[in-house]
C-alpha cells in the first residue's frame, strides 16, 4: 500500500495513545507546532482497555487549556482508526492538514521567528 499523506505531518510513535500526556501536546504547541493530533485505536478495541479513551479526555482538556491561553483549541484533535485502515490514516492526515491551513500558522511560532 503506497499511500501518500502530507509531508508536513511528523509522526511521534507511542505504545498506546494512553501514553500521550497533556504536557506532550502542550509542549508541541509551545514549541511552535501549528497543530497536533492523536490517532488511536477504535474506541472499545484498546488492548489496554481504555488507553484511547484516556487520550481523548486529555485531548479535550488540552483544547480547553489552549483556549485559556489564547490559541484555538481546535488545533488539537483526536482521531480513531484500526491498524488495518491505512487509507483512513492518510485521509485523517490530509483532513487535519487542511484544517490547520485554514486556521493559519501558530502565532507563537511567528513570534519566535520575529524574535530570532
Amino acid at each position: 500500500m503506497r499511500l501518500e499523506y502530507p509531508s508536513n505531518v511528523k509522526i511521534v510513535r507511542v505504545p498506546c495513545t494512553g501514553k500521550v500526556d497533556v504536557s506532550h501536546l502542550l509542549r508541541a504547541m509551545q514549541q511552535g507546532a501549528d497543530g497536533a493530533y492523536c490517532v488511536g485505536c477504535l474506541e472499545g478495541t484498546c488492548h489496554y482497555n481504555e488507553g484511547n479513551l484516556r487520550c481523548r479526555e486529555r485531548v479535550e482538556h488540552v483544547r480547553n487549556l489552549l483556549e485559556e491561553v489564547g490559541l484555538e483549541g481546535d488545533r488539537v484533535r483526536m482521531y480513531n482508526l484500526s491498524s488495518g485502515e491505512g487509507p483512513t490514516f492518510a485521509a485523517y492526515a490530509k483532513e487535519m492538514t487542511e484544517h490547520i491551513k485554514e486556521l493559519g500558522a501558530n502565532p507563537l511560532s511567528q513570534k519566535q521567528k520575529a524574535a530570532a
Binding site: 500526556d21 502542550l26 509542549r27 509551545q30 485559556e68 491561553v69 490559541l71 507563537l108 513570534k111
Partner: protein, 226 residues
Amino acid sequence: MIVAQRKPFEEIMNMLKGYKKVLNVGCGTCVAVCLAGGEKEVTVLNTELDMARKLKDNPIKIDGITIERQCDREYLAELDSKVDDYEAVVSMACGVGVQFLAERFPQIPVYPMVDTSGLAANQAVGWYEERCRSCNQCVLGMTGGICPVTMCAKGIYNGPCGGTNNGSCEIDTEQPCAWFMIYERLERQGRLDNILELHAPVEWLDQTPRTLVQPGYKKVDPEDLV
C-alpha cells in the same frame, strides 16, 4: 489526603501580571496524588503561562521545581539558594505548604496556584470525596464510622434533624442523610443505643491554629530549627 484544585487560569494570570521572573514550586505529596500540584502539573502550568504571556508580547521566565513536601523544613531547604534569583515564587502546594514557604522566605512574594479543598478519599483516578473536616473531636466510634461533621449538611452531632427525608437530606435528594446512614449502620451492627448518647457540639468558636506535639516529642527553640 489533602486535596486541592488549580485556580482558574485568569486569576493566575492576574496575580502574575507584574512579574517577569518567577519560580513555580510543586509539592510531591498530597497535591501530586490528587493531580493538582505535582511535577506534571507544574510543567503544564508553566507551559501555559509561557504561551499566554508570549501571545500578549509580555514574556515571563518561569522555572519549575517540585520538592518532596512543602510542609517540611527539610525539603524547603533545597530552595534556599534558588529563590533570590526570582521576583516572586508561586506554590502549587496546599494552604499549609504555601504558608510554610512564605514563612521561610519572607523577603519574596509567594502566591498560591491551587485552592485547597479539604481532606478526601480517592474514589477513582481524579475523583475525590471529602470525608473529614479535622474537627479535633472525632466521634466516628459512636457513629458507625460515618462522620456527621462532614457528611451532614448541618454538621450536627446529635441527629437526624427534621430535614431528613426518606434517606436523603433536605438540601438535595441526591445528598444522603448522614444520620440516616448512621442509624442504618448502627442498627446492622446491633449497637443502636450509641445514637442515644448525647454529644457536646464541636467547639468551632475562637479557633486558633492548633498545635500538635506527639507523645515522646517536644517543641524546640525556633532558633535551633534548620
